[in-house]
């Protein structure tokens, strides 16, 4: 543990190598695209986390008469009602948590796997690299969504299984990106020098390599998160969502199945859909902006 505090201390060797690191977040904030992503994310988080507390959703509150079914937006139901007479707005507020939860836990799994394999592969090179990259390439070419659908159909539809399935299929690109960065880092004079001083592999990886790939991991994380949220939504829409949890994808599945389209119930479809798009867009704006900040050639003003 004392190692960690040392790494961040002024004058530690890592500071030489990662001088640009503290600037990444400031540059993200200065980039209009990155800043709008952060703003959008803040709005989405408030809606998803605070919204259900203010307007709780009661899954048992069905409509009592034919006149309460598939009603357009009104003062009583801000975003109209479903085919069961439920309030679309309240259901929408309740549904965002699952997207966020599945997105975050799947991304966590993907990042640990991808960054871990990328680090080991790039750092040790040699046969370990060859073996790991062959495995990575195999999973990279497997069609991801079809694979996720197959796994969900075989292993169940609970939120935990969904997170696992998406996480276990989303890591190959991360592994590739991290590996190529680590490959170039390990050849740097600083790393060579520290190694000749007798530093162990684990310490070099933790103190000198990991901090330098961290911003790259974050940029990739935001994009993997977008993909994971989209995958969860698609699974739920195809009827492979958790049957006991409300989620935006499940709402859209119910809307589609109950003929909301032909009844012209646009509020029923648009509300949860906009939720998904806003959440995914927030993360992809941030990820794209981070990517731009980290690769100045890709559009940063020269």
């Amino acid at each position: 543990m004392s190692d960690e505090s040392l790494a961040g201390a002024p004058g530690a060797l890592v500071a030489l190598d990662a001088r640009a690191r503290p600037g990444v977040w400031r540059r993200l904030w200065r980039d209009p695209m990155g800043r709008s992503g952060v703003y959008l994310l803040a709005v989405v988080l408030v809606v998803v986390l605070v919204g259900p507390l203010v307007f709780p959703f009661d899954a048992q509150a069905f409509g009592t008469s034919a006149a309460s079914i598939l009603q357009p937006p009104s003062a009583a139901h801000w975003m109209g009602t479903t085919e069961l007479g439920q309030d679309v707005f309240r259901e929408f507020l309740a549904g965002g948590r699952i997207s966020l939860y599945v997105g975050l836990s799947a991304t966590f799994i993907a990042m640990v796997l991808g960054a871990g394999l990328g680090l080991v592969s790039g750092y040790y090179a040699g046969w370990r690299d060859t073996v790991l990259m062959r495995i990575t390439d195999f999973f990279l070419v497997l069609p991801t969504l079809p694979l996720i659908i197959v796994l969900a159909a075989l292993f169940g539809q609970s939120v935990i299984v969904t997170s696992l399935v998406i996480g276990l299929t989303s890591w190959p690109q991360t592994a590739r990106i991290i590996r190529s960065q680590v490959l170039s880092l390990r050849e740097r004079p600083l790393v060579q020098r520290v190694r000749s001083l007798g530093a162990g592999d684990l310490r070099i990886m933790r103190v000198h390599i990991l901090p330098n790939v961290a911003p790259l991991i974050f940029a990739n994380l935001a994009l993997v998160l977008s993909g994971a949220i989209l995958a969860q939504a698609a699974l739920a829409f195809l009827g492979l969502g958790d049957p006991v949890q409300v989620s935006w994808g499940t709402t859209l599945h119910n809307a589609f199945d109950s003929g909301a389209m032909s009844s012209g119930a646009w509020w029923y479809v648009l509300t949860p859909g906009v939720g998904i798009v806003a959440m995914v867009l927030a993360f992809s704006l941030i990820g794209h902006s981070l990517d731009r900040v980290l690769n100045p050639l890709h559009g940063g003003r020269a």
Binding site: P146, F155, G264
Partner: protein, 322 residues
């Protein structure tokens, strides 16, 4: 392209195919809760059908023998028997493959053309308002789930305006003559294909833009401009050719994505292809069909990546020299 390179690539391809087949076997036949054994044990089948299932997959043999039987079946193109259609899986898929090829093929060609053209426009006005709007617009479209985009198009062009058909592949009863039939299929194709284009074109526009921005500052581009060539000719004639390589790599990965999109879009528009087949087989737990479809999708992606690798090798002088 050297024979050695080609040999190595083909060997890798063969290995990847073998691993894919084995992976499929592991998923559907070995892992706990795998459908084949569960179905053989469940009471859904008559004793005769159960005996047939056990015989076909060799369920009374150890796993290793089952694996060999499975490999043999795959080599003979025997993908099993659909529980729902009561037909061989290959027959069930045979009717759907063509429809998916038409949809995915059309969408892919349009996606790449639109993506590259938009990317070039953004890059040639790099750092302008146009460029920024294109980038943000691309990201916004990329953030839309395929199925949701499809549903919006159904509202816009079907429910509200009745401008285009939103379901199926043909209008029943009006298919006299080849020309009328083709026209009818074409009209049904517009919305599903447009959905895939809208969502996926961003992948190509962003890559084209970023690569072109890098290329446009290189010496040869500056030289070409200094020679007096117009900006348009330099961008479209010189720079774009070099920016095409990342686009080609992206195409390999894109095929995996568009197949995922096809499942959603075919479901939304009831397009009778592989995607709708996957959706139906998931709903009805028709595992042999699901397995066959997944296998075919995996093969399609592996084959596309193989071809895009070879093309890359052929076209890129830098790779060729090493």
């Amino acid at each position: 392209m050297t024979a050695r390179y080609l040999g190595r690539k083909v060997a890798t391809l063969a290995l990847t195919l073998y691993v894919t087949v084995s992976f499929n076997f592991l998923l559907f036949h070995v892992l706990p809760g795998n459908p084949v054994q569960m179905l053989a044990r469940s009471g859904h089948f008559s004793p005769a059908a159960r005996a047939e299932l056990i015989r076909l997959f060799g369920l009374n043999h150890p796993v290793l023998v089952q694996y060999l039987i499975y490999l043999k079946n795959m080599l003979h193109g025997n993908l099993g028997f659909s529980y729902v259609y009561r037909e061989p899986v290959t027959t069930v898929m045979g009717g759907a493959i063509g429809n998916t090829l038409v949809l995915v093929g059309t969408a892919t060609v349009v996606t790449i053309i639109v993506g590259v053209v938009v990317g070039v426009i953004a890059a040639s006005r790099a750092h302008s308002l146009t460029d920024a709007s294109i980038t943000v617009g691309s990201l916004a479209l990329w953030s839309m789930p395929d199925f949701f985009t499809g549903m919006i198009l159904i509202f816009l062009f079907g429910v509200w305006t009745h401008a285009l058909p939103v379901s199926g592949i043909v209008t029943s009863g009006v298919t006299e003559g080849l020309w009328a039939h083709t026209l009818d299929v074409g009209r049904h194709l517009i919305l599903p294909a447009l959905t895939l284009v809208l969502v996926n074109a961003a992948e190509f526009s962003l890559i084209t833009r970023n690569t072109l921005v890098d290329v446009l500052v290189e010496d040869y581009v500056v030289t070409a401009r200094a020679k007096g060539l117009s900006r348009r000719r330099v961008v479209w004639g010189h720079a774009l050719r070099n920016a095409m390589l990342p686009v080609m790599t992206a195409t390999g990965l894109y095929v995996g994505m568009i197949l995922g999109g096809a499942i959603q879009v075919e479901t939304v528009f009831s397009w009778p292809g592989m995607g709708l087949l996957i959706y139906n087989s998931v709903e009805q737990r028709d595992y042999p069909v699901l397995e066959g479809c997944f296998f075919l999708f995996a093969i399609a992606v592996i084959a596309t990546n193989f071809i895009s690798d070879l093309l890359y090798h052929l076209l890129d002088a830098r790779v060729r020299r090493t």
